[in-house]
């Protein structure tokens, strides 16, 4: 196995272009596990840790989070509550110190905890190659299937970008263990009271991250009615309906981590709670 360690993004992209079979390595918290289990035996590995550009993190009018930003840094710098809560649920302190947003996007698992948040925020995944122009994809375009992304062999994920959406956001994750657990189901709800936008996305309940559009529309109606700028308490019937719409949008399966029936059920529970929390927060 060959290992390279470029220092600039240009160098890294050149190398990816010249040797498209190269496997990028960020924190290694997915890749090294795959290697350990013998599921992957890459011929060439490119360590990205030294590529400065990938560590950039700005949170002004628009958030730009470099692919190499770790969860620990995300937690300190990013203010979107759903993203903070998602980052906080990832692994253990050791994993959060090493694991990156780019790695979560690279692995592209339906259980990746930041992915529903990026979807609900309408974030853009920024990818680049040495030859081509920069491409910007939303999460639906990026994620093609379980562990299948739209990344071309010569491309690297450079960053994710989104507009900060205020404090009416929630991320919830159900798992059998109280920490360091892969989501049996997770859910992000972003209510942007300024832009009057609702984003709802769920993970681990389908082959990709799923948006619940009917639920988003329904919630928009609720906020419209209650007034976007005011906190409110959704009626039990409204919460019930919202939960049911999310459950309907889920397409879960039975696997070792949980049953489809439970996933559908807990999605509704999480949706109701997320709605109550975001409605209460202004």
């Amino acid at each position: 196995m060959e290992v390279s360690s470029p220092r600039t993004l240009a160098e890294a992209l050149d190398e990816m272009g010249a040797q498209p079979a190269t496997v990028p390595l960020a924190g290694g918290t997915d890749l090294m596990v795959a290697i350990n289990f013998g599921r992957e035996r890459p011929e060439r590995v490119m360590a990205l840790r030294r590529v400065e550009e990938l560590h950039e993190l700005t949170v002004n009018r628009r958030v730009r989070c470099g692919a190499g930003v770790t969860y620990t840094r995300l937690l300190e710098a990013v203010r979107d509550p759903a993203m903070v809560q998602a980052a906080r649920t990832v692994g253990s302190p050791q994993i959060r110190n090493a694991g990156t947003l780019g790695g979560n996007l690279g692995t592209c698992s339906p259980a990746g905890d930041t992915l529903p948040v990026l979807a609900a925020l309408d974030a853009e995944v920024v990818v680049r190659s040495a030859a081509g122009a920069e491409r910007r994809l939303n999460l639906g375009e990026w994620m093609r299937g379980p562990k299948k992304s739209a990344r071309r062999p010569e491309e690297l994920v450079v960053a994710a970008e989104w507009d900060p959406a205020g404090s009416s956001q929630a991320f919830l994750k159900a798992g059998t263990r109280n920490a360091m657990v892969i989501a049996v189901a997770n859910l992000a709800l972003v209510v942007d009271r300024v832009r009057r936008r609702v984003g709802l996305a769920m993970g681990s309940v389908g082959p990709t991250i799923l948006r619940a559009q009917a639920a988003e529309d329904f919630a928009r109606g609720l906020f419209e009615e209650a007034g976007w700028e005011r906190p409110h308490r959704p009626s039990p019937a409204a919460a019930e309906r919202f939960g049911a719409l999310c459950a309907e949008a889920a397409a879960p399966i039975d696997d070792v981590r949980g049953t489809a029936a439970y996933r559908r059920h807990v999605v509704a529970v999480m949706a109701r709670r997320a709605l109550a929390r975001t409605a209460a927060a202004v």
Binding site: S92, N178, A179, I182, V256, G258, A261, Y262, V269
Partner: protein, 744 residues
């Protein structure tokens, strides 16, 4: 009292078996069957042998001695499954390879071509028993098995398959001695038990195989059976080079036995006051493909299957099915954990039916010294069960959960305090100490007292395995106490001394501790003989008189070192007769527990807030270590109650990694409040009972009871899964059986 191995372990400097290396060492790897049931038609090793760096590829044909190993009297497990022979579980070893580099060994193992004729696996243990595929059936009849009662409760209970999950996977290093013999450095629970099987397979006299204890990274029963011992030695002897083998985590899941999963049908009858009249029960255990220790696990599940209560009339049927699953065998609690979940759930049902509290029903029926087990055996030693219950009830309750991480769902950010309800549950557990049913249980120790730099030093040698439990500290303490010296050194454990038996069954403090005490007493006797009157004892490095006044430094009497060896046998036990009656056990240890669990009933998630535990220990030789054992055992109980389960489908393990076999983290650990009851056990050295197992016997049952109380759901299966705790689904018995009757 510092543990001799603690500083290195804390600093990360301790050599575990997987850290071993030797000059010129090769790496061994095992070729395993992907099928749970198949006949091996052909094995082609040529391609593997031709790969770079490959030094040996061995199959069953290369086993010089006895081709079977196992713990039972009938050794039934093939060292390697040969051509024409049958594979009985997925993961069974077919061939072993040795190469210069681990990657080469991996490639070679993958290149061994095996043709299988795939057969239908037998995976339903109830059906297996019904068709006579059994490792042991045991019936216990006591009083009137057909007794009737005013209050009757019935229930079905299920326990999933738990992994011992020691952090250190199986590992060892075999070094040929150049004269046809071999030294094996191995992480094991019982050096001599391994030795007998290894020497037989290698066709070597036992003295030419020397087994030496390597650093053991946890055991919990997983190291009772052999893993790489014979394979590593075969490769080392064939290549003439040291061979190291260690399993990855995925391999470890098929590389050791697990806790028997259980299906249990119970019926309890009582009078209107809640006094037990009868228990009838059928317990089905899945023994997997080979015997391992199923024989003894069946006995324990059945004998302790009614709990520490007075039960006049019993009909108990317990069997271990032989199926095409990875063999099940020893794990901390050893059969008693499974049936405890059933009998304690039943006691709660009975309490509800009678209209008294869970505490009261247990107090009314609690076993006392002089009572009889359901096998008719009189409990001759301490049995302070009622006392344990009362003291446990007095322990403080935990405050309400505060902060996100303390709520069910924890880091998942799922619950608010308003979503939570709290429940309390009770369980009693008990179990035997040491080997049973007539086996000659003994341990050997050698104690040497010598002079070094002018002062007396004691050296203690045994073959007993330190597996993390702290036996090393206990042996040192005993030698210090008996010889009155400060400096005690433990010599390495190996087979150059006599057998110590296994570090299991909560027995080593009693057995090896007892052997050290007796050997030390023989040494002390000799010292006093040399000192002559009025020397009466040893203390503070001095020979002392009747009043404890110093007479002479011990070291002055050691011109010649003194060395004594002692073989300590415990009181002979008996066999069970055809009604399951007999004095099969030597002694019993009891525990009472109260669990407090917070449940999010809507989401189906739980967090154990507190486990209060009061344990009957005889005497706590090292209280800190006893509390350590309690905390570790409760952690495993939390795991079994809430998340730990090996999931198998059609004979294949689906979650052979710590990604999907979930173990409790620090966040999942409850507060533990514990108390010890010290009522000296008459037969035991210093009156000390074993301590390692009881907290794990009761805690799964207590935790599940608390989850029932909090959620109002039946919950007849552990681990309790979110879909059951939330009411999305419910476990049903695989079929209807009449409690007490075998599956037909």
């Amino acid at each position: 009292m510092p543990r001799p191995d603690a500083p290195a372990k804390v600093r990360g400097a301790f050599d575990f078996a997987s850290d071993l290396r030797a000059e010129g060492m090769l790496y061994g790897r095992t070729v395993r069957s992907p099928h749970p049931h198949a006949v091996v038609r052909r094995i082609d090793t040529a391609a593997a042998a031709a790969l770079p760096g490959v030094r040996a590829v061995l199959t069953a044909a290369d086993v010089p001695g006895k081709p079977f190993y196992g713990l039972d009297k009938v050794r039934d497990q093939p060292v390697l499954v040969g051509v024409g022979e049958t594979v009985r579980y997925a993961g069974e070893a077919i061939a072993v390879v040795a190469a210069d580099h681990p990657e080469q060994a991996r490639a070679a193992a993958a290149a061994v071509a095996v043709d299988y004729e795939v057969l239908e696996p037998l995976t339903d243990p109830v059906q297996a028993l019904a068709q006579g595929s059994s490792l042991r059936n045991l019936v216990i009849r006591r009083g009137n098995p057909e007794a009737v009662a005013e209050v009757v409760v019935k229930g079905f209970y299920e326990v999933g398959q738990q992994d011992q999950a020691p952090l250190g996977p199986e590992a060892g290093l075999a070094i040929p001695d150049g004269e046809g013999g071999v030294d094996l450095w191995i992480a094991t629970q019982a050096l001599h038990v391994d030795l007998r099987q290894v020497a037989d397979a290698l066709a070597l006299p036992p003295e030419r195989c020397r087994l030496r204890l390597a650093g053991v990274g946890g055991a919990f029963g997983a190291r009772e059976d052999l893993s790489m011992q014979i394979h590593g030695c075969l490769l080392a002897l064939r290549t003439g080079r040291p061979v190291k083998m260690w399993y990855g985590r995925d391999e470890s899941f098929v590389g050791h036995v697990h806790r028997h999963p259980a299906w249990m049908w119970y019926e309890h009858g009582a009078d209107r006051e809640g006094n037990l009249v009868y228990v009838r029960a059928t317990i089905v255990l899945d023994g997997g493909a080979y015997a391992s220790s199923s024989h003894a696990v069946v006995a324990n599940a059945a004998i302790f299957g009614c709990g520490p209560y007075r039960v006049p009339n019993v009909l108990m049927w317990c069997g271990a099915a032989r199926t095409n699953h990875v063999p099940n065998g020893a794990m901390r609690g050893f059969g008693a954990v499974q049936s405890c979940f059933a009998h304690e759930s039943q006691m709660d049902r009975l309490a509800a039916a009678v209209g008294i509290s869970p505490l009261e029903i247990r107090l009314r029926n609690a076993m006392r010294s002089g009572d009889r087990l359901i096998t008719g055996q009189v409990v001759s030693g301490a049995a302070p069960v009622a006392d344990l219950i009362r003291r446990c009830a007095e322990l403080p309750l935990p405050p309400p959960a505060e902060g996100r991480m303390a709520l069910p769902g924890g880091a998942g950010n799922l619950a608010e305090a308003a979503d939570i309800s709290r429940g309390e549950g009770w369980a009693l557990g008990y179990k035997n100490i040491a080997y049973s049913e007539g086996s000659d249980d003994y341990a050997t120790a050698r104690v040497r007292l010598e002079r070094r730099n002018g002062h007396a030093v004691a050296l203690v040698k045994t073959a007993a395995a330190e597996v993390g439990q702290g036996l090393v500290t206990v042996c040192q303490q005993i030698a210090r106490t008996e010889l009155g010296v400060e400096e005690v050194e433990l010599e390495p454990a190996d087979t150059l001394i006599g057998d110590a038996g296994s570090s299991s069954a909560s027995r080593q403090t009693w057995m090896t501790g007892g052997a050290v005490r007796e050997a030390a007493r023989l040494v002390a006797e000799e010292v006093l003989k040399r000192a002559g009157p009025p020397g009466r004892g040893l203390a503070g490095g001095q020979v002392v008189d009747d009043e404890g006044a110093p007479l002479a430094p011990l070291a002055l009497l050691l011109d010649e070192p003194i060395e004594r060896e002692f073989e300590h046998h415990h009181r002979q036990t008996g066999k069970l007769d055809e009604d399951g009656q007999g004095d099969a056990h030597v002694s019993f240890m009891f525990v009472a527990q109260r669990a407090v669990v917070d449940v999010d009933p809507e989401a189906g998630l739980a967090r154990v807030a507190q486990v209060a535990t009061v344990q009957d220990v005889g005497l706590a030789i090292n209280p800190l270590q006893v509390h350590g054992q309690i905390e570790g055992a409760v952690a495993q109980g939390v795991g079994l109650a809430t998340m730990e389960e090996i999931q198998t489908r059609e004979g294949l393990i689906r979650n052979a990694s710590f990604t999907d076999y979930l173990l409790p983290t620090a966040v999942d650990m409850p507060e533990i409040v514990s108390e010890l009851v010290e009522e000296a056990e008459p037969d035991a050295p210093y009156g000390a009972k074993g301590v390692g197992e009881p907290p794990l016997i009761a805690s799964p049952a207590a935790i599940c009871a608390a989850m029932r109380a909090a959620s109002g759901r039946e919950l007849c299966r552990i681990p309790v899964r979110p879909e059951e705790l939330s009411g999305v689904s419910e476990t049903k018995p695989p079929r209807e059986l009449i409690p007490g009757q075998p599956p037909a």
